[in-house]
Amino acid sequence: MARMSRLTRETIDTEDLLRRVTVPAAGAVVLFLGTVRELTAGRRTLALDYEGYPEMAERKLAELDAEARRRWPLCEVALVHRLGRLELTAASVAVAVSSPHRDAAFEAGRWLIDTLKETVPIWKQEHWADGTQEWVHPGLGAENVPPNPSEFPASSSGGAP
């Protein structure tokens, strides 16, 4: 069977993920999808660009899979993160878990997406409707982020400092 925790540049195939985790031992399946949302704190998103450190990200996904199986009595786990340009409503990440009972499936699913978001080396760049772009780095206030040349098209194209 193909690895069930991986990166992809294609649309995430949720039917395939559900099929992989739905096994006779399972009575509960939880699928979480992170999707590209239009509004963040009142600002309008056109698209997101996801960049990853692939070797490390896939290793981290495999570690999360293994750790979740240690913590909960899971049947199957599948983690997929998409990279590249994503339009509104596209899924950037999918967490699918199955377990004999739903307590474990919900808890593991929640833990997996929370921990994935904290530890897996993937970054998103906002493409705002106002034409600016911005790398998202939680914990870095705007004052801590180096200016993004693309936010100042006039000055970068005009050569001003």
């Binding site: 978001k117 993937i122 970054w123 870095l140 200016p147």
Partner: protein, 81 residues
Amino acid sequence: MKVRVKLFAVAKQAAGAEAIELDVPADAVVADVRTALLAAIPALAPAARHLMFAVDAEYAGDRAPVAAAKEIACIPPVSGG
């Protein structure tokens, strides 16, 4: 010695490159790599204490040696998901 550090997201943007070569002492640890990186890319200074590093695709603390590393990467705060 020279080390090559992979850059991502805001670090790549600030450097204008996907990796950077840095001069560090022969017995350098991750902390030395951070110091050299900030010297090379002053625009990253405000983010300095938020930058993590990976050695051979695994998070590494400030005291981890880098001489034997096959790959070093600067990991700014992640935002996947």
